[in-house]
């Protein structure tokens, strides 16, 4: 035992062990995400959901996994073979790569001698946020490469949509992240998390509620989840980018999507909801460094992620999919101007040194919301963009004339 602790005090060994633990936990979580997706969809539709495999259907993920493994893995003759094989792996790897820098539990003092030994984080690069953005941006390659390799026009259309969507939503997302970076002056994820704790510091969601909301919206778009799941719009695109995929390759896409959701949720939690921190709980403060505190912090972080995953599923089974032009309009005409205004406002606050003054930040947010309400309320074009509000086509003049 002592020997083990002695080994774990080395950050490298600790990181390797942590990454293994996190990997195992994430893969299980992802499998159970699919189970809960089905369960929650069933509950929301007054059904019961999977309940045959094991008690309450809890062994369903194993059955699904076995099915994915054992099914025939078809590679159609017309596909671009190397890319076809590469794409699912890409989707999953990019989904998982982000976990390397999520701060799970802050500083840890393993042997209880009052000296901090390791960080409960696989790696803490100073540019953590940039790394996350890069990995998140790469995640679309799984979809794009998959759609291209399918050599099928529907899959290709899905890939094109995914690319355009990613480009449009990456910008508001980056701007919102920039707000956080500006207020904290940090890029490392653990530093950002810790800047929301302690005396006089609040979670960033208190300072930037609008930014938090925009982040949430872009997150749905980045992870290709409903209402922005244009890349796999069954009714229009068959299966979208995974039309030709079967067996384990299809399963990998699935896992990648959920891994992406988990990492995205973790990202938002670190940026806006204080990571593993809960106010007024003594062992969830950065000062608490015991092993038990670490475990408590990890479970708090995991619980927050679970709440986000529920939100993802809740939204998925509530909202219909956006039309593609609505999607684009929302990003370019809705989120982007709001983001820019917020950005300008926070810049001014930064100049005045008021970026952590709740009255100033919230006041600005309130004015912004009011402005948006006035503009959207008086503007003829609704945010959702109905078909009826599109300009009339010349040959429709007779029908539409009032």
């Amino acid at each position: 035992m002592d020997w083990l602790i002695e080994q774990l005090k080395d950050q490298l060994v600790f990181s390797v062990v942590l990454s293994l633990v996190v990997f195992a936990a994430i893969m299980t979580a992802v499998a159970y995400c699919i189970y809960f997706e089905r369960k929650i969809s069933a509950w929301m539709q007054d059904r019961v959901g999977p309940n045959r495999v094991g008690p309450l259907g809890l062994l369903q993920p194993m059955a699904d996994g076995a099915k994915f493994l054992l099914k025939e893995d078809i590679i159609p003759a017309f596909v671009d073979k190397p890319l076809f094989v590469l794409a699912p792996a890409f989707a999953l790897i990019m989904g998982l790569a982000g976990f390397a820098i999520l701060p799970w539990g802050g500083m840890v003092d393993l042997d209880g001698d009052g000296v901090v030994d390791v960080m409960c984080q696989v790696a803490d690069p100073g540019v953590g946020l940039l790394y996350l953005l890069a990995v998140g941006g790469m995640a679309v390659y799984g979809v794009v490469v998959g759609g291209w390799a399918n050599n099928n026009k529907f899959a290709f259309l899905a890939a094109m949509r995914a690319t355009a969507q990613m480009l449009s939503y990456e910008i508001p997302m980056a701007l919102v992240i920039l707000l956080v970076v500006m207020t904290t002056g940090q890029l490392g994820l653990d530093d950002i998390a810790r800047s929301q704790m302690g005396e006089g510091n609040l979670w960033h969601v208190c300072h930037h509620p609008v930014a938090f909301f925009i982040m949430l919206v872009t997150l749905f778009a980045e992870t290709n989840r409903t209402p922005f799941d244009m890349a796999e719009a069954e009714q229009e695109l068959i299966g979208g980018y995974h039309t030709e995929y079967s067996a384990l390759k299809f399963g990998l896409f699935f896992l990648g999507e959920y891994a992406h959701m988990i990492i995205g949720s973790g990202f938002v939690i670190v940026l806006f909801l204080g990571g593993w921190h809960l106010p007024w709980v003594s062992f969830l403060q950065p000062e608490a460094t015991s092993v038990w505190a670490m475990l408590a912090k990890m479970s708090v972080f995991a619980t927050k992620i679970a709440a986000f995953l529920f939100l993802f599923m809740w939204v998925r089974w509530t909202l219909p999919r956006f039309r593609f032009d609505q999607l684009m309009r929302l990003s370019w005409k809705g989120l982007l101007p709001v983001c820019l205004m917020l950005f300008a406002y926070v810049t001014v606050l930064l100049y005045l040194g008021r970026q952590t003054d709740l009255m100033w930040t919230l006041g600005g947010n309130g004015v912004l919301i009011l402005l948006v309400l006035i503009v959207a309320g008086t503007m003829g074009v609704p945010v959702s963009g109905r078909q009826g509000n599109l300009s009339t086509l010349p040959w429709e003049g007779a029908v539409r004339a009032r």
Partner: protein, 192 residues
């Protein structure tokens, strides 16, 4: 001929400010789905629970009725086989060993996979020997298993006669004139 004045143009209703903002609508939808999460579930756990049939005359598996003496009621007239649009009934008739009818089926096969459960055989039968039962959970492992022979069809009768008694048990034989009321049957039966 449709005149210009007959055409009514229907416009989408104007959106209110709340609808135009989209967000209050999202909140409303989310509330609805959340409420449904905790509602009573309507799922029927099928093999364990079975829903009651809503109709008395559900057309499920066939049966071959027995008469009062337990003999097969069929008189091998081939009416059902002729009426069957799916050609799923196959009968081999032979001279009847009994006094009250000329023929009886030696073999009576129905391909339950081919059958479309239209009930025309039941309509066609002059002695009400073939009937469709409300049994719907019809399963088998092979195609051969799903071709029901005479014994199997009589077994269906034995297990469903309690819940669905034979419509007209008095009719036992077939006069050959197409008119199958009790009177003629007895008359003919005695004549032979």
């Amino acid at each position: 001929m449709i005149e210009e004045k007959d055409i009514i143009n229907v416009d989408e209703p104007e959106l209110t400010a709340g609808e135009r903002l989209y967000l209050p609508q999202i909140a409303g939808g989310m509330r609805t789905t959340l409420r449904h999460m905790f509602k009573k579930k309507i799922t029927v756990q099928y093999p364990e629970q079975k829903r009651e049939l809503r109709t008395e005359n559900y057309r499920g598996v066939h049966r071959l009725n027995r008469d009062e003496q337990g003999r097969v009621a069929c008189v091998a007239c081939f009416m059902c086989q002729t009426a069957c649009p799916a050609h799923c009934i196959h009968i081999v008739g032979a001279e009847s060993p009994w006094e009250d009818r000329e023929k009886y089926p030696v073999q009576f096969d129905i391909d339950e996979l081919r059958c479309i459960y239209c009930g025309m055989c039941e309509e066609a039968c002059p002695v009400d020997a073939i009937e469709l039962t409300p049994e719907y959970d019809l399963v088998g492992r092979t195609r051969e298993e799903m071709i029901f022979d005479k014994e199997k069809l009589l077994m269906v009768f034995d297990r469903t006669k309690e819940t669905k008694p034979r419509k007209n048990p008095k009719i036992t034989g077939y006069s050959g004139t197409g008119c199958a009321d009790e009177h003629t049957v007895t008359e003919r039966g005695e004549a032979h």
